[in-house]
C-alpha cells in the first residue's frame, strides 16, 4: 500500500495525547483513528475520521480483499506524531506500509537543504496488522440515544475549569439541558463547586434524534440530563485539543455516557466517556 501525502501532524498529535495505542483504519476514502471502549481504557472510546482527499496528494491503497477493501493497523500515535513533526518542512513526504523487521508505516521525507542534493529522513513506525476477524471491534459507533445535546463552551474555558476542579475531586458531573445551559459540578465532603454556562445553544437535531421520537419531544427544556464521569478522562480529552474546532458538541445520555463531538474543517473526532455511579 502506498500513500503519498502531506499529513498535518496536528490531528495525530491530538490523538497521541488521548491514548497510547489506537487502531488506524484505512479505506479508499477515509482514515479512521479508533479506540474501542475496553476496560483497559476505562471504557473510554474514540472515533476520529479524516477524509483522505483533504490530506493526501496521492493516495493508493489496496485492502485485504476486494470485499473488505480496507486495512486495519494498531499503531502508537505518539510515534507517528513525532515522525510527522520532524518532517513538517519537508518538500515531499511519503507514507508507505512496509515490512521491515515487523510491519511498519514508513514515513520518508525529503528535506530542503542548501545544496542541490536533498536530505532524506526515514522513520519506521512499527504497527500491528489487525486480522479481519477482529475488525468488528472497530466499527463506527452509533450515535447514542441521547437525552440532551448541547454546544460546548470554548474548550479552553472548560479546560481551565476542569483543571482546577481536578485538584478537589476525582469525579465531575456534567449536566446540560435543552435550554442551552450546562453545569460542571463537583462535590466532596468539604466543598462543592459548580460552574454554570448559559446561552450555549443546542444543535438542531436535539429534538428529533431520539429514535422513537417520543420522550425527547416532550422533554422539559429546563430538565438537566447528567452524567458523572472520571475527571481525568475529561481532562485528557481537553489536554489534547490544540486548535479550536469549528463545532464542538456534547451529547449526554442521562447517567450513562457523555459523548463529545468535535468538528474541524477536515476532521471529525468523537469521544465517549462512560458515566460512573
Amino acid at each position: 500500500m502506498k500513500l503519498l501525502l502531506i499529513l498535518s501532524p496536528g490531528v495525530v498529535t491530538t490523538i497521541s495525547k488521548l491514548t497510547k495505542m489506537c487502531v488506524l483504519r484505512l479505506t479508499p476514502d477515509n482514515l479512521f483513528f479508533v479506540l474501542s471502549g475496553k476496560v483497559a481504557n476505562g471504557g473510554v472510546s474514540m472515533w476520529c475520521e479524516l477524509s483522505q482527499a483533504n490530506f493526501f496528494d496521492e493516495y493508493q491503497m489496496e485492502g485485504v480483499s476486494s470485499e473488505d477493501n480496507e486495512i486495519c493497523l494498531e499503531v502508537t500515535p505518539e510515534n507517528l506524531s513525532r515522525a510527522l513533526k520532524t518532517v513538517q518542512n519537508a518538500k515531499t513526504v511519503k507514507v508507505k506500509l512496509t515490512k521491515k523487521h515487523c510491519p511498519c508505516l514508513t514515513i520518508a521525507a525529503e528535506l530542503p537543504t542548501m545544496s542541490s542534493i536533498n536530505r532524506v529522513v526515514t522513520h519506521d513506525v512499527p504497527v500491528d496488522v489487525i486480522p479481519r476477524r477482529l475488525w468488528h471491534e472497530f466499527k463506527e459507533p452509533n450515535m447514542p440515544d441521547f437525552d440532551v445535546s448541547i454546544y460546548l463552551p470554548p474548550l479552553k474555558t472548560i479546560k481551565n475549569v476542569v483543571d482546577r476542579m481536578k485538584n478537589l475531586s476525582n469525579f465531575l458531573v456534567m449536566e446540560a439541558n435543552l435550554n442551552g445551559e450546562m453545569n460542571l459540578k463537583i462535590e466532596t465532603d468539604l466543598v462543592s463547586v459548580t460552574t454554570h454556562f448559559k446561552d450555549l445553544g443546542n444543535p438542531p437535531w436535539g429534538d428529533d434524534a431520539s429514535q422513537d421520537g417520543g420522550p425527547s419531544q416532550s422533554r422539559d427544556p429546563e430538565a438537566m440530563a447528567q452524567a458523572r464521569v472520571d475527571i481525568r478522562k475529561l481532562q485528557q480529552f481537553l489536554v489534547g485539543q490544540q486548535v479550536n474546532p469549528s463545532k464542538a458538541m456534547c451529547n449526554i445520555v442521562h447517567e450513562r455516557v457523555v459523548h463529545l463531538i468535535l468538528l474541524h474543517e477536515d476532521v471529525s473526532l468523537q469521544y465517549f466517556i462512560p458515566a460512573v455511579a
Binding site: 494498531e74 502508537t76 510515534n79 513525532r82 515522525a83 520532524t86 521491515k100 523487521h101 515487523c102 511498519c104 537543504t113 542548501m114 545544496s115 542534493i117 536530505r119 532524506v120 529522513v121 526515514t122 522513520h123 519506521d124 513506525v125 512499527p126 500491528d128
Partner: protein, 418 residues
Amino acid sequence: MDCLLEGNCVKAFGKAVHALSRIGDELWLDPMVRGVSSTKQRWKGNSLALRSVNSAHSAYACFLFSPLFFQHYSLGPVSEQGSETIKCKLLMKSVLPLFRCLTSIERNVERCQISISTPSDRVIIQFFCRHGITKTHNLSFQESEALQAVFASHLCPNVLKAPARLLGDMVMHFPVSQEEITLSMTPLSVSLRNYYEGGNDHMKTMYTEMSLHLDEFDYFQVGVDSDITFCLKELRGLLSFAETHCLPVSVHFGAAGRPVCFSVEDMVLEATVVLATLIDSESTGPSQQTETLAPTTPRCAEAAVLPVGSCEANSRKHQGVPAVMELIPSSQGSPIISPPALMLLVPQTDNPNGLGEPDEACASATTTPASSTICSLLFRALSSEQDSDGCAARLPVLAYYSDGEENMEEDYTRSPSL
C-alpha cells in the same frame, strides 16, 4: 587561582557547564600553567580547563578557556613545574544551579569572579549583578588529580567538519530520549540512525534514519567506511553550545570501537567531547585477542578493556566501571591499533572508589549484553604497578598511564593533550 569573567563570557561559561553536566556528575576545575589546545595552538599563558567524565568512563568532555577569554586570570603562587596548581573536583549539582538560567545571567550579571581558596577548601564563585547586588557562592571541592584524555585526532582516518547547525538539525529527528545513535560514513554520504538493540519491544520502537550528502559538510575525509555507535544524549550539550556560538563542529573517528571526538573551537576557547563507541562483537571473538594486540609500553596500565571470561579483571579496581565492560578484541586488527588512537593520562587519585558511582550516563550501553560492548575510553590506573597476571601486556592498548610528560615515550609525547 583567580579569574574574572565579564558579561557575555559568563553566559558562555554557563553554557559550557550545561554541556558538561550532560556528561558527568562531577566537574573538574583545572587551572593550567601552559594550556595546549589540540589544534596545536599553544596559548601563551595560563588557561582554565573544565572537564567531566561519566561514571561509565565512556564519555569525556573538556572545555579549555584561553587567557583571552578572561578579563583577568592569575594562577596565584605557583612553581615552574606547574604541579602546584590546585585541581578541584566539584559536584555538578553544586555548580549547575548557579548557571542554570542563562537568560537571567545575561540580563543581570555583569561580572563573575571564580577563585580557589586553598585554606578553606572552597571554590568561591561571585556574581556581580546589576543594582549593586553581589551573590557569593562557596562550593567545597575535593582536591583531585586532573583527568585528561588525549585524543590524537590527526591519527583518525575519518574527519567531518560540519557547519554550526548541521549536526543539530540532524539529531533533531531523534527523540530526546534516544540513547544511542549510529553514524555511518561512506565515500558518498553520512547517515545517522538510531541504534537498534534487538529485544522484544518492537511495537514501541520507532526507527529513524537520515542521510546527508557529503557536500553538506565544510570538510570531509573518508579514510575507512565505518559505522560508529555512540551515546547521543551526552553529545547534545556540545551541539547546543556550538549552535549558540555558531561554531562548526569537527568530528574525528575511525572504525567501530575507536572513540569519536567532537570538537569546536574559536579564538578563545576550545571544547571537546570524546565518546566511546560500541563494538559489534559478531566480528570478533576472544580467540582473536592475542593476535591483534599492539605492543605495549612497559608502564601500561590496565586498559579500558577487560578480557572476556577473566573474572579477576572485574574485581580489580574498576569501581567506576560496570562489570559489563568486557573485552573488545579488536576486529580491526588494524593498523589503527598502533599507535593507539586514544591515550589517557590518569594519575592516581586518592579516592579508591575511582571516579564515580557505578551507575551510568549511557544507560543502555552498560546494560547491553555481551554481544555489544562499549569500549571504555578512559581508564584510570591506580598505580604504576603492572598487573600481577601480566594481563595488561596482552591487552590492546587503548589507554595507558603516564604521570607526566617526561615519562611519556617516543612519539606519543608529541600528541597534544586536552
